[in-house]
């Protein structure tokens, strides 16, 4: 460990002191003077026409301040979608309006119909019950394949069908891919479901709107991963408030996992209502509301095929995916099954020809959008399950088949439009094989058998694209925003620093790891650096935290700004030391003249910047504060190899995870403890998806898993102790830190490892089962074993 607590030190997370002692300041902890409470009346049916809303009785009830319905939002903008996908035929996706409150129709259980604002929450709720909504229930479409059939009920009457887009990637390759399949020596096919998930951050969403008549300023306190993005989307597209009159604050946020990226109706409602009634308006989601209003994740149905030549080299991959959009397009929804999924279909393998088809479909369900990994877990799962199946069909070792097809030369341009900069997949796999004592597996399996259990080993690789990404590239791909990041580094007179970053921290530990980078660059104690984030009033425009981009993109912006600081500080030091700028070296917080023992301390230089008595005022300005925006030139490509050992109880179908190993290449590591924590959490979510979690709707569009009584979250005793390694880092070549990002890896890499292990166990037990759809609950595994 570096003695200075800089890059590479496992510093304890300084934010945990407040989180663990109950001193975190979450949005719901805030109460504004004169605050009112908002309750949202939501649709109880999946699809219906609103013939009338009668609020008369409710409005007369005690404590009611205002009631808003769709009518109040007729002149107001639609909740925007941040990404436009172009379909196979060059046409833009079908993009329906997304009203803040239902206009004429409700389209999913939980769709907001009216907002009641009252002195207390209970009064608001009482009044909401007194609102009479005349809804004519319409047939709902829940199943994606049903939804795209001719004559299916339409979620949006003004669209031609429920098909949002039919995307082909790379369309020009289609013919060559089909040809490769015709010529293949072997073809492996797999049909599977990537189960729909509810993100379930510990803290539910909250929004508090406030309006100051004195200066015409609106403020929104919200549980967001990206306050600037909310300011832009809500201000410019929904409510028409210019940025200088709108402040968005995301204080401590208790987990996001993607679902707190998006702009939600409740944010606009609270902001709009506060201005209307000239009092603060607070809304806090209940857990039940979260299940039916937070954007869900995943929900793909896929057929994937792999073509191999006679030597078991992969020659082509072809996929056909239906991706659920839900009832409306959430902020980044269209990009998830396309640019965050199709571009990853090469995985770690040198398959020369790939064609990905994705049909995005509207259904009467909660909108689906990015959830930890977003598109990449879906790509990894299908590919790595498929390779396992191919190995079994061909009678070859699944690890050997992978190794044979690994990409080994970097940079590597995939046939799906991305260029991997670095990686060493064999080294990572070597490490994994030693971590899991593969040689000892047969003995462990025999031991399990003695106890009446079936043991299986599952291995897989993953690659992901993080640090999203070059703005000009994503612009071509349909993004309606830039994806740079920003930082302002302010050095105080006595040498301490404040970094104002656009990257929001909601569990990632930025307040600890970001200072380590600056400490390393200047050679000072990381405790001299404070991180400020989450408030548009005091941070530069940032695009937020998702896609494991904070350190790679936000951290790089901070590095650039700090470089500017150091350059200027060197000039000041040169002046103080009466030397040339180019002779000044900075080390251990000291500026010295090369080859001499003349030096001046960091603090003396910073003081001179603010007390510029002896200062080159004719050449440089006083003060020491710099801002940098950083726009990356490529994504980063973390990769890894994961392994899972399970036992299956053949009598009950219950799966227990016996061991789990993760070997990751995250490039350079700033804080290994935080990295491990991110991997641990990611694996917990991946295991959750593989074994426990699944959002289920019935045919009428009622959410059967609307609470923790039916939606199973992973608990500590569902998880093993993990073996985690990140010693094979190949630094990213195109960001100044050489970092790749680690936030999503665990959730991406773990589901196929678990499912591969279960299938392996069942096969070893003599069951000819090639796939079971997640979650692999005891009931499902038993049903598969018993042909049901």
């Amino acid at each position: 460990m570096p003695a200075d607590g800089g890059i590479g030190a496992p510093n304890k997370r300084r934010e945990d002191v407040r989180f663990l002692t109950g001193k975190g300041r979450y949005t719901d902890d805030l109460n504004r003077h004169g605050q009112t409470h908002m309750y949202i009346l939501r649709s109880q049916v999946a699809h219906g026409r609103i013939n009338g809303i009668d609020t008369a009785e409710a409005e007369a009830m005690e404590g009611v301040v205002a009631i808003l319905t769709g009518k109040d939002f007729e002149g107001v903008g639609s909740i925007p979608c941040g990404w436009q996908v172009t379909d196979r035929h060059g046409q833009p996706m079908q993009e329906p309006a997304h009203p803040v409150l239902a206009q004429g129709k409700v389209r999913h259980v939980g769709d907001p119909i009216a907002a009641v604002i009252a002195e207390t929450l209970e009064q608001a709720r009482d009044a909401a019950e007194a609102i009479v909504v005349d809804i004519e229930e319409l047939p709902a479409v829940i199943d994606m394949k049903e939804a795209v059939k001719e004559g299916a009920p339409k979620v949006h009457d003004d669209l031609t069908s429920n098909l949002c887009y039919d995307w082909g990637f790379v369309e020009e390759n289609k013919g060559a891919v089909d040809e490769a399949f015709e010529k293949a020596a072997h073809v492996t096919t797999l049909e599977l479901v990537n189960n729909r998930l509810v993100a379930n951050p510990m803290e539910p969403r909250v929004a508090i709107g406030e309006y100051d008549e004195a200066d015409g300023m609106s403020t929104l306190y919200t549980t967001s991963q990206n306050p600037h993005v909310i300011r832009l989307l809500m201000g410019a597209f929904v409510l028409g408030i210019p940025e200088h009159k709108l402040r968005v604050v995301a204080p401590d946020v208790g987990g996001g996992f993607g679902t707190k990226i998006f702009h939600y109706a409740e944010e606009a409602l609270a902001t709009f209502a506060a201005k209307k009634i000239k009092r603060p308006v607070k809304w806090t989601s209940s857990r039940s509301e979260a299940f039916m209003s937070d954007a869900h994740g995943r929900d793909h149905v896929t057929k994937i095929e792999l073509a191999l030549d006679a030597d078991n080299n992969f020659t082509a991959i072809r996929t056909d995916t239906y991706a659920n959009m839900g009832a409306y397009l959430s902020t980044f929804a269209p990009s998830v099954p396309t640019w965050l999924h199709g571009t990853l279909m090469a995985g770690n393998y040198k398959t020369p020809l790939i064609y990905v088809n994705v049909k995005a479909v509207f259904t009467n369900t909660v909108p689906v959008d990015a959830y930890r990994g977003a598109g990449r877990p879906e790509a990894t799962f299908q590919l790595e399950r498929l390779i396992d199946k191919a190995a079994r069909e061909l009678g070859v070792d699944p690890i050997a088949l992978r190794r044979q097809n690994f990409i080994t030369q970097f940079p590597y341009a995939t046939p799906v439009a991305v260029e991997y900069d670095t990686g060493d997949y064999n080294a990572t796999m070597d490490t994994l094989e030693t971590m899991i004592d593969r040689a000892g597996f047969e003995a462990r399996a025999a031991e399990s058998k003695k106890n009446g259990k079936l043991r299986g080993l599952g291995v897989n690789c993953y690659i992901e694209a993080c640090g999203i990404a070059p703005s000009n590239l994503v612009g071509q791909l349909g993004a309606r925003a830039g994806l740079y990041e920003s930082a302002t580094v302010r050095v105080n007179a006595t040498g301490g620093l404040v970094v104002m970053t656009g990257s929001h921290s909601h569990g990632q530990g930025h307040e600890t790891s970001f200072p380590q980078v600056i400490a390393e660059m200047i050679g000072i104690d990381p405790n001299m650096v404070e991180i400020v984030h989450g408030d548009t009033a005091n941070t530069p425009m940032g695009m937020g935290t998702y896609g494991s981009r904070s350190l790679a993109v936000g951290g790089s912006a901070m590095v650039r700004a700090t470089e500017k600081i150091i350059n200027k500080a060197k000039k000041i030091a040169a002046h103080l030391l009466e030397a040339a700028d180019s002779d000044i070296e900075l080390k251990d917080g000291k500026f010295s003249v090369a080859g001499t023992d003349k030096s001046v301390a960091w603090g003396d230089v910073t003081l001179a910047a603010y007390v510029p008595h002896n200062y080159p005022l004719e050449d440089i300005e006083p003060g020491l504060e710099e801002t940098a925006f950083y726009d990356p030139s490529n994504f980063t490509y973390p990769s890894g190899a994961y392994a899972c050992e399970v036992e299956v109880d053949p009598e009950t179908g219950k799966v227990t995870i016996e061991s789990f190993a993760a070997a990751d290449d995250f490039g350079n590591i700033v804080n290994p403890m935080i990295v491990e924590g991110q991997v641990h959490g990611g694996i917990a979510q991946g295991v959750g998806q593989a074994l426990l979690e699944g959002a289920v709707y019935d045919a009428d569009g009622q959410l059967l898993t609307g609470s923790y009584m039916d939606y199973a979250m992973p608990r500590a005793d569902d998880l093993p102790f993990y073996a985690v390694d990140h010693s094979n880092g190949t630094p990213c070549t195109h960001n100044p830190l050489g970092v790749k990002g680690c936030g999503e890896a665990g959730a991406i890499g773990s589901p196929p490892a678990v499912v591969n292990a279960v299938i392996d166990a069942l096969q070893r037990g003599g069951h000819d089962i090639t796939h079971i759809n997640m979650p692999l609950t005891p009931g499902r595994v038993w049903a598969a074993m018993n042909g049901q």
Binding site: E651, T652, V696, T705, M709, G779, A783, Q788
Partner: protein, 258 residues
């Protein structure tokens, strides 16, 4: 939650009066409070039972274990004089639930997936109410249904302590209530097998298994015995067939654990 009156009597007599007057018993609140929060019930008055000493505590009367209706699961778990029952109580919910939730509330509610009903039925317990004593066989009448009349509540539960007993809960993955739970007891009442979690009719006795075990108290005596899937619960956590299958597996495991 709708507004309600809360009474907190400290004597049984006051509680009886309040309940006779239309109040609904509130014990640990682990079921009732979430229900109220979701506005799924609208009681005018709740009568809290947990401040009444006579309703709390565990004592032995001869070979009977008598548990006050307002005794929390954690106390039963810690008691140990009826090991299988203590083990059952120790696996209900989490520490919060066990320190609030009570046996009277659990049996009063009769959730088809709850644990205690199987213990009461398999042990041949007696439910002591403020009006009468009811044999467990007569007490459970269906899903969330009991033989309790209006104004009647559970004062205590008397468990004959069997010679051997065990409860095995196969957990529903989300709620960790019983997907199938089986309580097997062998004692003065013979062998009794009660199954919870599985049936659309709530907790039930598996009489075929009881007969088989009466002549040969070993898991192998159950070989080939099955319950019909017809009346089993089928949901996203397991089909009817799966639950029917689990009844056999879990019963064997309970016998082995005796």
């Amino acid at each position: 939650m709708y507004a309600f009156e809360l009474e907190r009597p400290t004597s049984l007599a006051d509680a009886e009066k309040a309940i006779a007057g239309g109040g609904q018993p509130l014990s640990g609140g682990q079921t009732l409070i979430p229900t109220l929060k979701q506005r799924l019930a609208m009681p005018e008055t709740l009568v809290s039972l947990t401040a009444i000493d006579e309703l709390k505590g565990i004592s032995k009367e001869g070979d009977m274990l008598v548990i006050g209706g307002a005794t929390c699961h954690a106390d039963v778990a810690a008691d140990g004089s009826y090991p299988a029952l203590s083990a059952l109580a120790g696996k209900i919910g989490d520490p919060h639930v066990r320190n609030r939730g009570t046996i009277g509330g659990s049996l009063g509610n009769n959730d088809p997936s709850a644990c205690y009903p199987s213990a009461a039925l398999a042990s041949g317990a007696t439910i002591v109410t403020n009006k009468r004593e009811l044999a467990a066989d007569d007490y459970f009448t269906g899903l969330f249904e009991t033989a309790l009349d209006e104004g009647e509540f559970i004062k205590a539960v008397k468990f004959p302590i069997p010679e051997k007993a065990a409860y095995i809960k196969f957990e529903q993955p989300a709620s960790r209530f019983a997907l199938v739970g089986v309580f097997v007891a062998k004692g003065a009442n013979g062998v009794r097998v009660a199954v919870t979690g599985a049936s659309e009719g709530g907790v039930f006795r598996w009489t075929e298994a009881e007969q088989a075990l009466s002549s040969n108290f070993s898991a192998s005596a159950l070989d080939g015995l099955t319950v019909s899937a017809d009346n089993m619960i089928g949901d996203i956590h397991g089909s009817k067939a799966y639950r029917a299958h689990l009844v056999g597996v879990v019963t064997k495991r309970a016998v082995n654990a005796c």
